[in-house]
């Protein structure tokens, strides 16, 4: 579904990604783990078109997308939940969801999508008139995920959904991810909290200093002694 071939990327002179290749199959949940500054967020930015790669190619459903604009990529069916949610704090919950369904196709199915979302996250329905900025941390992350689903994506990318959250809220967020996974979405998640994330993963990648160090099924990861020591704290 998503194929990345030898992507490199840089901020100005400073290179962050070095020839990364990876893929996500339809219906699969893939996660990328690694320490801060390993280039995980950059990877998602490159896929979503916020950052142009300096080298390499990206295909989505067989179509090349590395030269497309972000809003075009969203239309093709990739949505990104940015780190920290990045809601529009002065818009209401409903408006946040509305803007999530901005593309023409999504607009047509807005009602249906909204019902689905309210089914998935009932609390949002109660809060729909509230300003997004007044939500609690967990609700915000929930709304961020919901907002990304409004565009009717095929692939949902999540950037560190648990970052900055207290443990008990963190657990709830992973629960949301599990819920959308069960809805059949393909997921590419980037996460520092490797242990929790691996529980959800079908396939996993390890990034360090902008390089792909290791990849394999979730079990392979858990068994790998290096990863065990450095990332799982076992």
């Amino acid at each position: 579904m998503l194929e990345i071939e030898g992507i490199s990327a840089a901020y100005g002179e400073f290179r962050v990604l070095h020839e990364i290749s990876l893929g996500v199959r339809s219906g699969e949940t893939a996660i990328a783990v690694g320490p801060n500054g390993a280039g995980k967020t950059t990877l998602l930015k490159v896929i979503s078109g916020l950052l142009r790669p300096s080298l390499g190619k990206i295909y989505f459903d067989g179509q090349r997308i590395d030269d497309q604009e972000t809003h075009e990529i969203v239309k093709l069916g990739i949505s990104l939940v940015p780190e920290g949610g990045r809601l529009f704090p002065y818009l209401t919950v409903l408006d946040n969801l509305k803007i999530g369904a901005f593309s023409k196709k999504a607009r047509e199915e807005f009602r249906k999508a909204l019902d689905e979302i309210f089914g998935l996250f009932p609390i949002l329905k109660d809060r729909k008139k509230q300003l997004a900025g007044s939500l609690s941390g967990g609700e915000r992350q929930m709304l961020a995920i919901a907002r990304s689903l409004m565009s009717r994506p095929k692939l949902v990318m999540l950037d560190e959904p648990s970052s900055g959250l207290a443990p008990k809220i963190m657990a709830r967020v992973f629960e949301f991810v599990r819920r959308i996974k069960s809805q059949g979405y393909s997921i590419l998640m980037v996460e520092q909290n490797a242990r929790k994330a691996l529980e959800l993963a079908d396939h996993a990648y390890l990034l360090e200093s902008g390089r792909l160090q290791f990849h394999g099924g979730a079990e392979d990861f858990v068994k790998n002694p290096y990863i065990k020591k450095a990332y799982l704290g076992i």
Binding site: G49, T70, H71, S79, L91, I99, R147, S151
Partner: protein, 287 residues
């Protein structure tokens, strides 16, 4: 004396309507594109010229000329975005500001080349309104009502349409809005076009009040900035309110002192308010 002051206050409120119209577009552009549009007054000047030419030389009805002007100014807004603001989006703020200041030179002299150096005005009279001892200036009342209607329409546009939603969202987070499938460049274009169209509307309401000449715009620029900053930059409602404050303050203090000193007083009040409340009177973000 009291009656005079009261009359001045009424005049000030009406003048506030005129100024509020002027501040709308400037505010909208600042809110979304985060750019101080230095050449905004010059847009109004070009709009006035256009209405003049269409009415007096092409002999179109005034309303039609105004509509065409609104449309043409929207296109000029698009061009500005395309040729000047677009290439400078990543540049330092000062560069953006000065490039737009450069546009002042271009527009003023362009008007001079096209229309010559003469003053142009359309003899247009609205009926005189007299209530008791008070005279209400019809032209300003007209502009005042125009400002209210424009604000209402703008509110509907921003709150009831998808594009309006995208504009509000862009004002809050330029990057993330792209992830919603919004082409943020189109949003900029639309904002600049809307800003341009607003100058066309301003020009239409100015037609019964002012005569246009190539340097017409610059006399409004500072006043418009003061209003926008005073209300909280990017805050439409704040700009609306502070336009009335400035209108009443200049008008009343001109009666108490002189017209000349009133301008100085307006500037002083602006500077003092800034020092006490740097974020402006209604200093929160968002449209």
């Amino acid at each position: 004396m009291f009656e005079q002051i009261l009359n001045a206050a009424i005049n000030g409120i009406l003048l506030g309507g005129v100024l509020a119209l002027l501040a709308f577009g400037l505010n909208l552009i600042f809110g979304v594109v985060k750019i101080i549009h230095m050449a905004y007054g010059q847009f109004v000047m070009l709009g006035l010229y256009l209405i003049y030419v269409l009415t007096m030389q092409v002999h179109l009805p005034l309303v039609l000329s105004a509509l065409i002007a609104v449309f043409a100014m929207a296109i000029l807004g698009l061009l500005t975005q395309l040729l000047v603001i677009g290439p400078l989006l990543e540049a330092p703020r000062l560069n953006q500001l000065l490039a737009l200041a450069g546009l002042i030179i271009v527009f003023e002299n362009l008007a001079m080349v096209i229309w010559g150096a003469d003053y142009r005005g359309i003899p247009l009279y609205l009926p005189i309104l007299k209530i008791g001892n008070f005279f209400i200036r019809g032209s300003c009342l007209f502009a005042f009502l125009g400002a209210l209607i424009t604000l209402g329409l703008l509110y509907l546009f921003l709150n009831k349409t998808y594009i309006g939603l995208a504009i509000r969202a862009t004002a809050q987070d330029t990057e993330i809005v792209k992830l919603m499938g919004v082409n943020s460049r189109s949003v900029y274009f639309i904002t600049l076009a809307a800003g341009g169209a607003l100058t066309g509307i301003v020009a239409a309401f100015f037609t019964p009040i002012y005569t246009v000449h190539p340097h017409f715009g610059s006399s409004f620029t500072i006043m418009a900035f003061i209003i926008v900053v005073l209300g909280g930059m990017g805050n439409l409602l704040g700009g609306f309110i502070s336009a009335f404050i400035i209108g009443v303050v200049t008008s009343v203090s001109a009666v108490l002192t002189t017209t000349e000193i009133a301008d100085i007083i307006a500037l002083l009040i602006f500077i003092l308010v800034m020092l006490v409340r740097p974020q402006g009177l209604l200093g929160t973000r968002g449209i």
